[in-house]
């Protein structure tokens, strides 16, 4: 292990490796990524891996849209010899209430102004996309053809390999134990495999972001909540889009390999870092999906698992350098969507570290917004 680096990134999920890649591409030398287990072992590899441009604020639409544009060409952009399996079958978002419909109308206006090709469709039109969709409680739906889903392990692998080609060192099965600061400045990272001197640390630790920030005395207003998910046996292609509904509390996709992956939010999920699976989830998920996409009830569940959403008070990420500790950058609190915005997370944090102007203004996402009470309102959060 090297003992000196310009930048140490804590966390080998998609955000961490994307930041490393973008930094290296901008010419930064001696970049290290430290991962406690294997790459994508945390939230990245446990997520539903959907990517959508259908958001409700201009900033989020632009971050997500630009990320999708990158993912569309990720195999070429990253010289990846395999395939990140981007199935760009769109997102079909179901509205079940009039209020939801009104919100979607506002969102679409914004999205279309920003060049996102989303549209409102009737439940009959939705049935043309998914013929077996149960539309009895669907008021209206929105559909955006550029949305879709990706294999999160392969996307992480693609970034990691591209970063390593540019000289980034990735230390797996290495745990950050402490961070030493002197006079408000970062001195070194202490790991179970040795110490690394550095001036700059990026906290991209996902579910463990709070614990990493505590090492430098920064109190993040985040908590990690368990979210569960399951996968079925594979069958021939029968679902193009990611089907999702805020009010029905559901998302469901069919991977290119044929398995269905689906999740929903629980009512009383633990926030103590547990990632166990519950019977309650299996029961409610089965009922939800059977109601919305009835034929799926025929499929056998192969397994279920869980991951951590790192959640902030306004369910928006925290980006940028902390005021109190110079050189301590945050890319945390993604509240369940770190994967879909990772290409822009990487670019934006790399720009900040290099002292460049951000290509999308994310100053409203700084940690200080919570002190000032300037929370960001985003209506399209799951």
């Amino acid at each position: 292990m090297i003992n000196k680096a310009n930048v140490v990134i804590v966390g080998g999920g998609i955000s961490g490796v994307s930041i490393a890649y973008n930094l290296a591409k901008k010419g930064m030398k001696d970049i290290v990524v430290i991962e406690k287990k294997y790459l994508a072992s945390g939230a990245t590899g446990r997520c539903g891996a959907g990517v959508r441009a259908q958001w409700g604020t201009e900033m989020n639409c632009r971050i997500a849209h630009e990320s999708i544009k990158f993912y569309e060409k990720a195999n070429e952009n990253l010289n990846y010899e395999r395939d990140i399996d981007f199935k760009q079958g769109g997102y079909l978002i179901l509205a079940t209430t009039k209020k939801e419909k009104e919100q979607f109308e506002k969102n679409l206006k914004l999205q279309n102004r920003l060049g996102i090709p989303s549209k409102m469709i009737s439940s009959e039109e939705a049935k043309k996309i998914v013929p077996y969709l149960n539309t009895e409680d669907v008021v209206v739906a929105t559909y955006c053809p550029i949305d879709g889903h990706i294999n999160p392990f392969k996307a992480t692998d693609a970034y990691a390999l591209a970063a390593e080609k540019l000289g980034v060192k990735i230390y797996k099965y290495t745990e950050v134990l402490d961070i030493v600061i002197e006079d408000g400045e970062i001195k070194k990272v202490v790991t179970d495999k040795g110490d690394i001197e550095t001036d700059i640390i990026v906290n991209a630790a996902g579910g463990y972001a709070k614990q990493i920030a505590e090492m430098v005395g920064v109190d993040l207003p985040v908590f990690s909540e368990r979210h569960q998910i399951l996968v079925t046996e594979p069958v021939e292609e029968m679902l193009g889009p990611m089907v999702m509904s805020f009010s029905k509390n559901l998302y469901c996709q069919q991977t290119p390999e044929g398995s269905f992956i689906m999740g929903r939010s629980g009512e009383n999920e633990p926030t103590d870092m547990r990632i166990t699976s519950s019977w309650d989830f299996l029961d409610k998920m089965a009922k939800t999906i059977t109601h919305t996409l009835p034929p799926i009830s025929e499929l056998t569940v192969i397994r279920q698992w869980a991951g951590l959403y790192n959640i902030t008070p306004d369910r928006q990420p925290i980006y940028g350098e902390t005021k109190d500790v110079k050189g301590f950058f945050l890319a945390v609190g993604f509240s369940g969507r770190g994967f879909m915005v990772a290409p822009m997370t990487g670019l934006l944090i790399a720009e900040q570290i290099m002292g460049e102007e951000n290509s999308i203004d994310i100053s409203s996402l700084s940690l200080e917004r919570f002190e000032k009470g300037e929370l960001v309102f985003e209506p399209s959060v799951v």
Binding site: Y132, V235, T300
Partner: protein, 101 residues
Amino acid sequence: MRIENHPILEFKRGNEIKFYFDGEEIIGYEGDTVASALHAAGVRVLGESVFKHRPRGFYCAIGNCSSCLMTVNGESNVRTCITPLKEKMTVEIQKGKGEIL
């Protein structure tokens, strides 16, 4: 192949059950699973792998491994090693991942 005489165990064979494997009539017995009846009748290939189309046969025999998935009475992905044999079942080798629509 069926065990006729065993030094310790005694097999009480049930009634004959007629079923169809890829159109061919086969006789099994009450108490058989679909896969055990096929195996006894000398059928070794129950399916094929999805990508390379290699033969797949009777393997775990407890419903875990997916090696014996077949189309039974038109239903895809049936674990034949744990599915009791019934009169006039149609059992077919499945091509691909199967469909539920």
